[in-house]
């Protein structure tokens, strides 16, 4: 038993099912989006911040936000972005743009893809998108009750 002829790898697999509850606040956001093509957020009565996606509490003031709803205008600005040029498993083929967007004057940003930008020439695309660029929300025709029931494109005059 002197040499080590081979090192073994033991195969394993996780297969975990989950059922996440959106709760009352999250459910209302999704239902408004799906049924009424509206983006709603919660607003803290104390600090005045508008939270999108809506949360049931304000983490800063530590008060409940239940019932403190506001509707947001479906347009905003691009606040941060990247152009993905590498393949990530189970994601769409590159290139594509992911950004964080500030919608309708909310105090927080939401993640989404930025559609409607020609990515055939990445260098040119870089010069056509910028932090603070105005964007608008387009609601999909077929809405299924998901955070991706709308998409975001540059707002061009």
């Amino acid at each position: 038993m002197e040499q080590m002829p081979e090192l073994i790898q033991m195969p394993g697999k996780w297969d975990l099912p989950w059922v996440y509850a959106a709760g009352e606040v999250g459910s209302r956001y999704i239902v408004e989006l799906r049924d009424n093509a509206r983006i709603v957020a919660t607003k803290c009565p104390k600090c005045g911040r508008v939270l999108l996606p809506p949360r049931s509490f304000c983490e800063r003031c530590f008060v409940s936000l239940k019932g403190h709803w506001v509707e947001l205008e479906p347009k905003g600005t691009l606040e941060a972005f990247t152009i993905v040029t590498t393949v990530f498993p189970e994601q769409r083929p590159p290139p594509y743009i992911i950004g964080y967007f500030r919608i309708g004057g909310a105090s927080t940003n939401i993640p989404h893809f930025l559609e409607g930008v020609d990515l055939s020439d990445i260098e040119r695309a870089k010069s056509e998108i910028w932090v603070d660029m105005p964007v608008k929300v387009i609601f999909r025709e077929q809405r299924v009750g998901s955070a991706a029931d709308f998409y975001i494109v540059p707002l061009r005059d």
Binding site: G12, L16, P17, W18, Y20, A21, E24, S56, F57, S64
Partner: protein, 380 residues
Amino acid sequence: MDDKVAVIGVSQTKYEAAKRKQDLYEMIFEAASGALNDAGIKIGDVDSVVLAAHDLIDGRSITSMLTATPAGAYRKDEIRLGEDGAFAVALAWLRLLSGEFNASLVVSWSKLSEGDFDVITSLNFDPMFYRPFGFNYVIAHALQAASYMSRYGLTEAQAARIVVKNRAHAVNNPLAHLQQAVTVDDVLRSRLLAWPLKELDLPPKSDGACAIVLATEERAKRARDGCAWIKGVGWANDTYYLGDKELWELPSLALAAKRAYRMAGIENPLEQLDVAEIYDISSFHELMEYEALGFCKPGESGRLVDQGITSMKGQLPVNPSGGALSSHPYTAVGLIRVAEAALQVMGRAEGHQLPGVTTALAHGASGMCCQSSCVVILSK
């Protein structure tokens, strides 16, 4: 450790099978903000937050990324343990003793309705030697229960009496998940899962959260509704492989208790404790825990339960809240035990309050088969 740190506020959500109207975050916020209210302090008064949560139980790969802020962590010095909630009490206590902090939120939760508990706990076992045999929470604890039974000639009916006792206690706890009393026959006739464990020998799967506020001496003495002083804390870890253990013993608990007792000056726990809230991993485990906690000699737990010594009217009532056999938001169980023990000491346990409680014990456990245990002694 006399009168240095105390529990000054406690809050629990209702425990139930599936909270659909609350997402995980709102459930946590309810407990954390409730504990602040209970302590009569504001979030600004808190300078430490200690959480206990498991990624796989929460179905979030680094759960505290999403669960820390509903627990009050925004801009706070916060830390998260991957342990049972009682360990979070231990760490918060150390932090307060270090002189760096004055008041700490301690929060723990589980929403077992969102995942598959049996599959999740099967992943606790090492992939080479144990996982191929399909061990999980139920099966591992069944193996341990069987081993204990055979060692001491205990009967399934004696274990069933633990279930009867704890479920009867839960009738008086409005927050309990299972609030119906059961009989020995109900337990014995419930579905056999892995011999000797039947469905009613095991805890339910619950959603719920618990939070407490711990504070240093100066702040605790000003507490509105009294407080429960931490007199002793001990925790210990045992070996991992089930095959390395004398399965009928719980060495981590015996060690943890020894350390906590020494600190609290407890020599005869049966005499000196007024109440114990312990993690009844299964009915058999509550019996094993009596022995590890020194309530009786090894193998004598059956007598304790037969004589009703640990029921509400007995010498040392155990789990007046109904224990984990009535409410089981897994990760939070140990913190709930501390919260319930504190309520007993403060005289605020309402329907399940015991008369004249001066000293209470709480116990939490992490890992499979009580690999790690934490014991907290609270006093007036």
